[in-house]
Amino acid sequence: MENKIPSLQAPFSTPASVVVPNEPPSIVARNVNVWYGEKHAIKDVSIDIYRRQVTAFIGPSGCGKSTFLRVLNRLNDIIEGCRVTGKITLDGDDIYDPRIDVVQLRARVGMVFQKPNPFPKSIYENIAYGPRIHGLTRTKKELDQLVERSLRRAALWDEVKDRLNEAGTALSGGQQQRLCIARAIAVSPDVILMDEPCSALDPIATAKIEELMDELRREYTIIIVTHSMQQAARVSQRTAFFHLGDLVEVGSTEQIFTRPQDKRTQDYITGRFG
């Protein structure tokens, strides 16, 4: 901005500082770098992610926001030539510690993708699969209860309770996405990562997912990558702006959308990127 910011002391308020909850962050990332071969995709990113909040990652295509999201549950491990440095802890545990079980990690850090991807199985089996392989329930009754609870939390139960044996893929797009959220919830994660969860959905289905996120954030740490700035503004409490692999600015969503501190943030969210 070309503002002349005056050096006035007393009469004016200082900018509202970022509200940080009075508890340690769920995820702490320090000096994280990611390379895809020669390409430096994430540059020295440090950020704290808090519980019971939705944190939105925004930025233009190729800015690294999805890459950074995938770092958080080590989904980049399966990409050849991908190298990650720096330190990321989840509730104090270093997630890149060689001793850590990646399957367990991904149960703690669930993920919902852009395109709904239910298993080609029944609605019931979509939910029951995770708890079964992780051995979370002992009896059929317990499993039934877990399936019901997960579907209820994902606000899908009332729509599917009479047809649990039908194929998950037979549901509408919005229902499939909520099924995927229910599937992620079923294994009791701490964190839910959402990578453009609504970009394939119509406005009503989008509103349902957004409403659901607001419910879920009471229990989970939620991180959403979205291209819709309005969506980031609606659903998140904190917003992080990425650009060319840098974390440019992170702050309360209100602050980012009313008085961003960095010119690049300002230019991006107001639609001035050139």
């Binding site: 005056p6 308020s13 230019d267 107001t270 001035r272």
Partner: protein, 238 residues
């Protein structure tokens, strides 16, 4: 600032800014002419100012309509949002300045028909301070100059002090001779109108700060208008 990727968004914001500047220009003229008409007892000039008020109202409505449309169609954020929200406030404040200038003109028409017993010098001086403030405010808005806006904010105190002086001065004339009451009452309202204009201009200067850097003024503005607490005893023997 860089241009929007969507050109028409830039054009709409620019058009809104220009509407406010046009509104400000007309109001600035009305205020200057109102003070001049008062000094010259020029009823014709005063009548022209009164007629201009509908143009001011129309421009204010236009600015408000543009702002609502921008919010509905563009969902502005950050500096764009602050401009749009600020524009609504600025338009209303400037429109009020126009109303007061028009009211000064109406009273000038009445005063021009009465004998010129009492000098309007002190009111003219008040008017000059306020005119300067309005000019600087409009400059600050068009050049994004927060310091200049702040200098206006500070100056409102001078207007209040000048108003107090005029208030006391007019009371003494009224006590001297009841025939002075009619012109003095009109002059008192004129002085009050100018004082109110100063307040609205100060509002605009606060809004400029909000538009440019997103901060509200938190400190109470310097206030020196204590005429609300004045008690006057008539001279002994009256």
């Amino acid at each position: 600032m860089a241009d929007h990727t969507v050109k028409s968004f830039d054009e709409a914001l620019e058009h809104l800014r220009n509407t406010l500047l046009r509104l400000g220009g007309i109001v600035e003229n009305s205020l200057a002419e109102a003070v001049a008409a008062l000094a010259k007892r020029d009823a014709d000039l005063a009548a022209q100012i009164v007629q201009r008020d509908s143009e001011v109202d129309a421009l204010c409505r236009s600015a408000e309509d543009q702002a609502v449309k921008l919010i509905a169609l563009r969902q502005p954020v950050a500096s764009d949002l602050r401009l749009v929200v600020g524009a609504i406030r600025v338009a209303v404040d400037l429109e009020r300045v126009g109303d007061y200038a028009s009211n000064i003109a109406k009273r000038t028409i009445v005063l021009a028909q009465l004998p010129a017993l009492i000098g309007v010098g002190p009111i003219q001086r008040m008017g000059r301070i306020v005119q300067e403030m309005l000019k600087d405010t409009l400059d600050a808005f068009s050049t994004h100059d927060v310091e200049k806006a702040h200098s206006v904010w500070v100056r409102d105190e001078q207007v209040d002090e000048a108003y107090n002086a005029v208030f006391r001065n007019l009371l003494t004339y009224m006590m001297e001779d009841p025939r002075n009451i009619t012109p003095c009452t009109h002059m008192l309202f004129i002085a009050k109108n100018i004082e109110r204009i100063g307040d609205h201009i100060t509002n605009v200067s606060e809004t400029i700060r909000f538009i440019e850097i997103g901060e509200q003024v938190v400190q109470d503005r310097p206030k020196r208008d204590d005429s609300a607490f004045a008690i006057v005893e008539p001279p002994a023997g009256v």
